[in-house]
């Protein structure tokens, strides 16, 4: 009995000393992914066709600093392609894009004014050494002896892909066609022809946004209607068949609904005047009337609401605040116009998904629309403690122009593409580590002299919350 007692005490005591330990896994992180056979084949030659979203346009301009984060470049990087294996028409700082009446170049966020409103200004060309007529980052980029892998051209419409050879000979008239296609040096070839000359194994095709976005961002004024759906279906089908006939796999993306894009959702339809919320007066399709929650006021309207200069209405009457001075139609996507735009998006997306479904496994489809619908609800897009939303400036997904994504937004899109490519073609391209991405996006050391030179040219007053200081 005595021995038993001592024995028990010893057992208990040994627990005190040892304790139990958490079993650690033998593998504490994944090994780097070796690309499998399907992935290697797809990325032997990867070419991108599309518009500004493919080009890597951001904050109203195309410039190398952000082209490095175009979603196709990010995909190429994940697939292990070097800068030489996936070439882009990189442009110098501050890039080509926003020719506003207040200046040119990429938009920059310069903090808040004394009222807490964001100051967003284009970077002027003066002093940067940038030459809009030779915008390339360097001679190597400008003189690349073959077409760029990224043939995304800001501003183009669907019809341009297979027909435009220059800005002058195009439907959209986009000035960047000349920069990207470099005709006549490349034999007056179209984007499609240049793409096929690279003998692609995988083509990313995200096109058609401008076939409705041009209509929507101009408040239904220019062009006066989205591309006809039958025309769209015909053009899209023929473009896709030409790609498939050349033996390449294709990854398509559909078109986001305009009502999830901050360009349309940021400016409220009511303004606060002396404590009261008053709906804006607008020039709508059905005449001059006060706006309702159904109408979308465009981001561009913001700096003109309350304008009394007389440029857009009678002098000395604050624009949008009186029946005699309604916001011009170009600043408003009214209820009827919104319905037209949404119908066009739905029609185009139906065409795209039908074609993808009937392609016999050669086409992968990316539902970008679903991603943005998801991010625009009140829960946003949660990411390990930070919540991304489609809000302007603070949301993290859209850049300062309210239409094009940020670096992080493009990373989200790239991951959607990678997921779809992997699922459809049996590839194993690794996803972008978004948390690591956030770490890498910490503010760069900015050139203080450059900042000091910036004139405060365009202040967007009180974009948020429906308050206008009069």
């Amino acid at each position: 009995m005595k021995i038993l007692k001592i024995f028990l005490v010893l057992i208990l005591f040994s627990f005190f000393i040892a304790g139990c330990k958490l079993e650690e896994p033998s593998i504490k992180k994944s090994n780097p992914v070796q690309l499998n056979q399907p992935a290697q084949e797809l990325f032997m030659s990867f070419v991108a066709l599309g518009n500004s979203l493919t080009a890597g346009y951001q904050s109203a301009a195309l410039t190398a600093k952000y082209q490095e984060y175009s979603f196709v470049k990010q995909i190429a990087k994940q697939a292990g392609l070097s800068d030489d294996q996936f070439t882009q028409p990189l442009l110098g700082w501050p890039g080509l894009g926003a020719y506003t009446e207040k200046g040119a170049g990429i938009l920059q966020f310069n903090g808040f004014d004394e009222n807490g409103n964001p100051k967003i200004d284009p970077v002027p060309y003066a002093g940067t050494g940038f030459d809009p007529f030779n915008p390339f980052l360097n001679a190597e980029v400008a003189g690349l002896g073959r077409p760029y892998n990224n043939l995304g051209i800001p501003g183009i419409v669907l019809a341009d892909v297979d027909s435009a050879i220059s800005s002058a000979q195009s439907y959209s008239g986009s000035g960047l066609i000349d920069v990207v296609l470099r005709n006549p040096a490349f034999g007056n070839t179209t984007a499609l022809q240049q793409a096929l000359s690279l003998q692609p194994k995988l083509v990313s095709l995200w096109i058609g946004n401008n076939d409705v976005l041009g209509y929507a961002t101009s408040g239904g004024t220019y062009p006066p209607a989205p591309t006809d759906k039958n025309t769209f279906a015909y053009l899209y089908n023929s473009l896709l068949q030409k790609l498939l006939n050349a033996g390449t796999k294709v990854v398509l993306a559909n078109i986001p609904d305009v009502t999830n894009v901050p360009f349309f959702t940021t400016v409220p339809y009511m303004v606060e005047v002396q404590g009261n919320n008053i709906p804006l007066w607008i020039q709508a399709t059905d005449g001059v009337r006060q706006a309702t929650a159904e109408d979308l006021i465009l981001l561009t309207a913001k700096s003109y609401i309350g304008d009394v200069s007389g440029t857009y209405g009678p002098a000395d009457v604050p624009l949008g605040l009186d029946k005699s001075a309604p916001l011009p139609s170009a600043f408003v996507l009214d209820k009827q116009e919104k319905a037209i735009a949404r119908q066009a998006v739905a029609d185009f997306n139906a065409v795209i998904s039908d074609l993808a479904a009937n392609s016999g496994g050669k086409v992968a489809l990316v539902d970008i629309n679903a991603l943005l619908v998801d991010a625009s609800d009140e829960d946003g897009y949660p990411l390990a403690g930070v919540t991304l939303t489609t809000n302007f400036l603070s949301g993290g997904i859209f850049s300062l122009d309210g239409v094009h994504p940020t670096n992080l937004g493009y990373a989200l899109i790239a991951n959607e593409f990678i997921t779809s490519i992997n699922e459809t073609f049996g590839a194993n391209v690794p996803m972008i580590d978004l948390l690591q991405f956030l770490e890498e996006q910490q503010p760069l050391k900015l050139n203080l002299q450059k900042i000091a030179k910036l004139p405060n040219m365009l202040t967007i007053p009180e974009i948020f919350g429906g308050k206008i200081n009069l």
């Binding site: 593998i27 903090g111 949660p382 403690g385 603070s394 948390l435 503010p443 900015l446 948020f464």
Partner: protein, 418 residues
């Protein structure tokens, strides 16, 4: 106003509470019995387990002790980054202590006092130099509660006793995490600190059949903790850009007041004990905890933080329970051996599990030894907590992965009867 847009960035991490983070180990004898002590309740720790039990105690009795708790937790993921990436939480040891007094005023009337910490614990992930992947959810969270609990117990009949008590509750909380200022892609750090006092009651009943079969019931009320005078601090690194620096300092007060409210759950327990022989007894307990009180966490700031004066985040905890079984065998007048098992059901729904509280169902095995000599008693206990691995796939934070956990608990309580 622009500043209202940062709402979702600054939700503080949750308090570290759940079934498993309620600390039921408030006496080494009871701990060694798997916490099954409601029906027996025959030492001064009855003030916590079932205050009606102190009516069995004669004269003056005092007992004091502590439970060293050594938890280990890990997270593997998040799956959005690397589903095999392994992070271990920092290993800390906590010493919730307990002190009990009882005094038999009259044969039928006994007064008692308890000091104990039934809720608390802490989690810490990563360091300043090596931040961990979940830094935007939590880096460090710590909660302590101290109950000061006088009780009075009466023998209503020979077989039935009843007790009531009040608790003054003191609580301290500290929560730290990193925050992300999206417009500038800038990481900063937030720290919330608060303390307060609250008030609760506890009730107990105990009934004995045929001198060998004991029944017990106990109720401890919820305790509302109003943290009215907390403090929130926000720190961001100084960048080379004065515009960013000004912007950050205008949006984030270096220091401001913060207010919050937390309701500690009510507990209800039932126990049955049977003395099979003079030396061998068993007990079984069912303990229910009303965790539904923790449905959301709301923090109100005196100065706007990122433009917001208030943050609300859903927690949606559900009620949980534990099943406890203990067996005690007296070897001789001096030595007693004990063993127990308890099963704890989780309180945090799957979608709301996050690294502040890496919680799940738990199996616990206990073993212990008691030694008595004259008026002295010494009890030791060892408990191993084995938590089921929890694979989270649809986290509301999009922070999916696998949580594992284990804890070693070591109890020591010394008693003296006057």
């Amino acid at each position: 106003m622009f500043k209202k847009l940062f709402l979702l960035l600054f939700l503080p991490a949750s308090f570290v509470l759940a079934s498993g983070f309620s600390i039921y180990e408030q006496g080494s004898r009871a701990t060694a019995l798997g916490g099954a002590f409601i029906a027996r309740a025959d030492d001064p720790s009855a003030v916590f387990y079932n205050p009606a039990g102190i009516s069995q105690l004669s004269g003056w009795q005092i007992s004091v002790g502590t439970t060293a708790i050594q938890p280990q937790f890990s997270f593997t993921g998040p799956s959005t980054m690397d589903s095999k990436f392994y992070t271990e939480a920092k290993k800390n040891v906590f010493f919730p202590t307990h002190l009990y007094l009882s005094y038999s005023i009259k044969p039928w009337l006994t007064a008692g006092f308890g000091f104990y910490s039934p809720f608390g614990l802490a989690t810490e992930w990563g360091t300043k130099e090596h931040p961990w992947v979940g830094r935007l959810l939590t880096t460090r969270t710590e909660l302590q509660t101290f109950y000061y609990n006088p009780v009075i117990a009466a023998k209503l009949t020979d077989n039935l006793s009843a007790a009531a008590g009040v608790s003054l509750v003191q609580a301290n909380v500290e929560m730290e995490k990193d925050v992300f200022f999206t417009p500038r892609n800038l990481f900063g750090h937030s720290k919330l600190k608060a303390n307060t006092t609250g008030f609760g009651i506890n009730l107990g009943l105990r009934y004995t059949f045929f001198k060998r079969l004991h029944l017990g019931a106990v109720y401890r009320s919820s305790v509302t903790l109003n943290f009215n005078d907390g403090e929130a601090r926000f720190t961001f690194p100084t960048t080379t850009d004065p515009i960013i620096n000004n912007e950050v300092s205008s949006l984030f007060p270096a220091k401001t007041k913060a207010k919050s409210k937390l309701v500690l759950p009510a507990t209800f327990g039932l126990g049955i004990a049977y003395e099979a022989t003079e030396n061998l007894s068993f007990e079984f307990n069912y303990v229910y905890m009303g965790w539904h009180t923790y449905d959301r966490l709301k923090v109100t700031f005196a100065d706007p933080v990122g433009g917001e004066k208030e943050t609300v985040s859903p927690r949606n905890y559900s009620d949980s329970f534990s099943l406890r079984f203990g067996i005690e065998y007296r070897l001789d007048p001096h030595f007693t051996l004990r063993a127990g098992y308890l099963w704890d059901y989780h309180a945090v729904p799957s979608a709301y599990v996050e690294p502040t509280l890496p919680e799940n169902d738990r199996h616990n095995y206990t073993i212990g030894l008691g030694y008595r000599l004259k008026s002295w008693s010494v009890d030791v206990a060892y408990q191993i907590l084995l938590q089921d691995d929890r694979n989270i796939k649809q986290s509301v934070n999009n922070f999916d992965g696998k949580y594992t956990g284990i804890a070693n608990l070591y109890g020591l309580t010394v008693g003296y009867a006057f």
